[in-house]
Symmetry: C2
């Protein structure tokens, strides 16, 4: 399976973090090497890496790179204040995916505890924590896959949107993790992948990942989803999430909300697959989720080719919010919840991100 983010130890120059450049897949396999927190912030903002869990993991590695930049600083106070500056740089990259802030908080807990330690120790501890976040994520995704696959019949065609796969996570994927889980359980699974304009994560990443795994996939434009549903071709819609509010409202890639409405109209179950860290108890409803707007160029150009008139006005929100009432169930590493059960669950338990 394709890897999203990993480290490489260089003898004299410390640790580098490598990313596969998701902007040019699948036509080219290009790798981006980050040696500083700023390089990682740029990579996240410019979407070298994307997908809520992968953004969180990359942010954690960005913090570890930051600590490595500070090895000449011994004073704990200076270290802490520099780390907080770096945290702000990374936090400012993308506003919607809550996993980014969750990962930064988890890293902060470590750097606050070890500020008194030797510089090299601080760096090692933070790289270890980032690596743990990545490995935990893969483990969580396998659990999501294992819980989620029970929702699918022995033979099923699943529609998915954007890429909630290995490339969007530490590995294995969330929505695609459920598909992989079903395939591993011996089920016959076919996938329809929305191409997911404007960034084409479905065409470029989901179609690529599933083809590599020999899982049958048919590519459609986003506008074809309604028709394939009406034709009775789809047994379930499964998507990932960038942030789930306490009431179950879910922010995910633009186009998700429309799919959820269409699924309801056609009587098709609509599932959100995401690690528990995507649920933000501090966000009461979808109305509080900040929605990132991106450059008009993503819509007016395809690569270098202009596809719209000069100077045209463009609206380009990167995400939309699906109200909880359209969501059949949320599949997490702790089990499968209806949106209502989720809010009860949040009331009773302390969560990793509270």
């Amino acid at each position: 399976m394709v890897e999203t983010v990993w480290t490489k130890k260089k003898d004299n120059e410390g640790v580098e973090v490598h990313l596969i450049d998701q902007r040019v897949l699948p036509s080219r396999e290009v790798f981006v090497v980050c040696r500083t927190h700023q390089e990682m912030a740029d990579a996240i903002r410019d979407m070298v890496v994307r997908g809520a869990p992968a953004i969180g993991i990359s942010a954690a590695f960005g913090i570890a790179l930051g600590a490595q930049e500070l090895e000449s600083i011994v004073d704990p106070k200076s270290f802490l204040s520099e780390m907080e500056k770096m945290e702000r740089v990374i936090a400012a990259t993308r506003p919607t995916a809550v996993n980014l802030f969750w990962a930064l908080a988890r890293m902060k807990k470590i750097w606050a505890e070890i500020a008194d330690e030797a510089p090299r120790y601080r760096t090692d501890a933070l790289f270890l924590e980032a690596q743990a976040i990545k490995e935990d994520d893969i483990e969580r995704n396998r659990k999501i896959g294992s819980f989620g696959q029970t929702l699918l019949p022995e033979s099923a065609t699943v529609l998915t949107h954007c890429n909630a796969g290995a490339l969007a996570t530490g590995g294995y994927g969330t929505a695609l993790g459920v598909i992989r889980g079903a395939v591993e359980a011996g089920k016959k699974i076919k996938v329809y992948a929305d191409e997911t304009r404007p960034y084409l994560q479905g065409a470029r990443l989901t179609a690529y990942e599933l083809s590599e795994d020999n899982i049958p996939v048919t590519l459609i434009t986003d506008s074809m989803a309604a028709m394939v549903m009406a034709q009775g071709k789809i047994n379930a819609v499964i998507v990932g999430a960038d942030r789930i509010a306490a009431n179950g409202d879910t922010a995910n890639k633009i186009g998700t909300y429309g799919l959820a409405v269409l699924a309801k109209e056609h009587g098709i179950p609509f599932y959100v697959a995401a690690p528990f860290s995507t649920i933000d108890p501090a966000t009461p409803t979808g109305r509080s989720i900040p929605i990132e707007e991106r450059s008009s160029r993503e819509v007016t150009h395809s690569g270098e080719v202009q596809i719209a008139p000069d100077g045209i006005s463009v609206y380009n929100p990167a995400f939309d919010v699906t109200p909880a009432r359209y969501i059949t169930a949320i599949i997490t590493e702790k089990g499968v919840f209806s949106p209502e059960d989720l809010s009860h669950h949040l009331g009773q338990e302390s969560l990793p991100n509270t």
Copy 2:
């Protein structure tokens, strides 16, 4: 306003038919010249010209070009049999738009009547009929605009899909004709234009046409329509049609059906604007409408740029069918009908295409 199809008389070589090449607009203004029925058939199939009414008009000019090719044939029987061959070539280009078959039937009525006439007379009569089809179309579109604009409030934001504008017709447009009619009536109209993958008629043609007319237009991807509806930004959805069945079910550009479902869910009126020739009494319901599937390359490539993995399976229907129950009203040159009224109307009157 931009022109779609027109004739040019050459002193020694007869009449040419010129088309603006809609495949490369708006980045380039290229003109395609057709001198034979085959060249026109190729232009229709390859989407140099598209849009149901414009396809009908172009087909009519293709027939006139065919008659011009037959000026060495005096014998009426040979003329008739050659014309029928040419008719089959043009009829085979695109299966969904009924205006194509309607225009061919209208031309056939003329060529059958005048088969005994002198060759030059036959050619002139058929060019005159094609020109009349074009001029009638513009006149009808102005009536559609005038009836349709009464449905819009003084200040309205309209969502449209694909291009049902001047470029899709003889001129003025159907869905965009309603928008133009409202602007001419002094109403404040803003437009959201879906880009309309895979062929991008919204981004390339609708955004271009409306900008040229200084009508405010914002371009969105198809997947953003649900969000702008949920934000309360849209007062009406207006689209064109490629074929309307007797019960009001409507085939139009892929993505239309999903928009209609979304409009219903958000309580937004959903209008179809089309000349009466788009209504096919011979098609009882949407299930009888043949849906053209086009090349996978339209989805896997953007221009020359590959945007999906090699060899990926693609489903690329060019149209979908919106059941009548999602359609608030059908706007024609004879007035505004609910889909149910339309079927009553069809029962009582003889129609132009029966």
